[in-house]
Structures are given as C-alpha cells and as structure tokens.
Symmetry: C2
Subunit: 204 residues, 2 copies
Amino acid sequence: MVNKEVNDNTRERILIAAKKVFLLKGMAGARMQDIADEAGINKAMLHYYYRSKEKLFEMIFEEALAQFFPKIVDIIDSGIPLFEKIALFCSEYIDMMLKNTYLPLFVLNEVNKQPEYFKERFWKGKNSLFEKFAAEIAAEIKGRRMKNINPAHLFINMISMCIFPFIAKPLWMMSTNMDELQFRGFMEQRKTEIPKFIIESIKK
Amino acid sequence: MVNKEVNDNTRERILIAAKKVFLLKGMAGARMQDIADEAGINKAMLHYYYRSKEKLFEMIFEEALAQFFPKIVDIIDSGIPLFEKIALFCSEYIDMMLKNTYLPLFVLNEVNKQPEYFKERFWKGKNSLFEKFAAEIAAEIKGRRMKNINPAHLFINMISMCIFPFIAKPLWMMSTNMDELQFRGFMEQRKTEIPKFIIESIKK
DNA sequence: GTCTATAACTCGATAGAC
DNA sequence: GTCTATCGAGTTATAGAC
C-alpha cells in the first residue's frame, strides 16, 4: 500500500518533470539527466518506470496533443452561431495557451521534425478537422449573412492570430519591450480583439 | 590560385549543406556527419573550415536572421501609403518564405530555445522594430482614414497570418489533404487574401 | 587541403547492491 | 523501489599521414 503510493508519486513526478523539460527543449534537445534533476531523482528511475527516452517522450507528446486539439474540435462542432463560435474559440484557445505557453511551439516543432512518425503514430482518422467549419461558413455566405470568403483562409487566419504570438513570444517581447505580465495582458486583450477584427472584416 | 578556388568551393559547399541540415533539424538535432554527407566531404573538413559545430551554426543562424528580418524593416520604413504597404509586405514576405519554407520555424525555434544567447549575440539596437509602423497607423487613425485599432494588434495580426501557415505546414497539409503544389498555390492566394482581409476590417 | 584513425566526451541504458 | 557504478553507442573534435 505504501509502496503503491510512493510508486504513483514518483511516476507522476517524472511525468511532470519530463513535460517541463521536453516542452522547453524538444525531443532532440532534452536530456534524461535534466529530467531526473528536475524530478529530484536519478536517471535509473526514469528507465525503471518508462523504459526509454522515446517511450517517455511519447507519453508527453500524446498528452500535449490531447491539449492542443480537442478544444478546437469541440467548439467548432458545437451548435452555437458562427460569430459567437469564433469569439468563443479565440477566448478559450488563448486561455489554454496562457496556461501552457510552450505547448504550440513544442507540438508544431515536433510534427515538423518527424512528420512521418507523427502521421503514422498519432494522426488516425482526423483528416476532416475543419470540414464542418467550412460547410457552416458556406451556408452563411449562401444565406447572405456574411461576405464571400474562402473558408480555408478564414479558418487559418483565425488560428494564426491566436497561436502565432505564443510562438514568437520572446521575439515579440523584445521588439515591444514587454515583460511577462504585459505579454499576458496583451494576450488577454486579444481574446476579444481577434474576434472583433475578424467579424469586422467578414460581416455584411 | 587553384587552391584558392577549391578552398572557396568547399567552404561554400559546406555552408549550403549546413544550412539545409540545420534548418531541417535545428541545432540540437543536426549531426556533423549529416552535414559532411550532404556536402559530399568528410567530417574533418567541417572543423578545418569552421572550427566547431557551434561556430558553423552561428554562420547559418546569422544568415537566416538576415533573411528573416530586413525585408520587414525595409518595407515598413518605405514611404508608400499604408494600405499599399500592407499589401506589399504580405506579398514580398510570403514570397521569401515560399523560397525558404523552413526558415520561420527554424528562427523562431532557436530563439525560443536560447533566448539569452540570441539576445546578447544577435539582438543589438533592434528594439524599435515596429515603432515607425505604429506611428504611421496612429496618424491614419487621427486623420480618420481608418478605424481605431491598437497598432500592436494590427501588426502582429498581419505577421501571424503570413508566417503561421509555414510553421503549421505539415499539419495543415494533413488537415486539408493538400499536396506540396496545392500548398504553394494556397500561399500564393494569401498574398492578396491577407491584405484584403485586413483592409476590409480596418477601412472606414 | 583532404583524408583516415582515433581521442575525448556525452548520453541513453543496464547491472547489481541495498 | 531506489541508488551507485558502469557499459556501450554515438558525436564532436583533433592528430597526423599524404
């Protein structure tokens, strides 16, 4: 009983440490020693619980993907009106990234570095991610409730404006002389600024 | 004389090979052996010409920064009217990235991985990158030629929509079932779609 | 300048004591 | 379950012949 608890505790602490190190340094840059230090244990333990660096990485990557994607799908698949949907998406997605600043760059970087690995291992039956969204926009256009715009462009415009600032964060902070707190404030503003900017452009 | 030419030739071939490998795999993921293979020579030559992996990386990184930045500054500092400036920026910048697909992710990733190193080594007196742009927008707003919008948001909206698709390229191609050629066509469209989208939103 | 061989070192992984 | 010690593969870097 006591062992079980200690076990779970260590297992969990390794995961937390690994997440921190992998998200900061990526698969290629992370060291098992860094993770062990961060977790306050020694290297052998990492292998005892997770066999190899790759297995440990997969755990973290899978968890990261689970955070990165479902939010998108859930909101887009919901039944609320398009303009509200856009506002909700931006707000929720930016909120999630404010709690996980390194998540977007980590995911996109690893997908770029090993696209085949990602495709086979993690990309199963997710082909039609934004088809529903595209159909909804087509309907709005046909009903003359918004301007004619290619849904693909609208979709990636929205995503770009939400995610990119987190990817360019250090560069952006240098360019604007923002500190951590000001950056967070800036992203808080964007929760409403982005929807406003989009809707202003597409409304009739 | 002959030696000099051979020298230059090898030096140059190493740079080209190193650029390819570093941009694809990043500093942490790149191997000196990969670069040597790509250049069709052996590892010792790399050290003969560039001393160390880090020195070689700095060369490539510096060159990458030179491509990534000046285009922005030049156009933004030019005297053309704001709306044309936005159109020109998007077109030129996307064009540059179409020729260097991996450039944005490479630069932003390395800056994120080593922000201090970047700041000290490469960020000298570039603080006011978009101040001029902000001032110009402020003038337009005051002159009632466009809607009231925070210049910082407008600026990063524009940059985000141009750069992000390249960073999310593999994921985007999977989501939309695009092939390489279709992706290029899509980005060609965006050269005009993005300015249209922006101007539609801010014009009065 | 270019190559082969190898030194020096880093890092993931394992053995074995407790 | 946890630790120390160490192995062995892989990598950067150098020595030395040509």
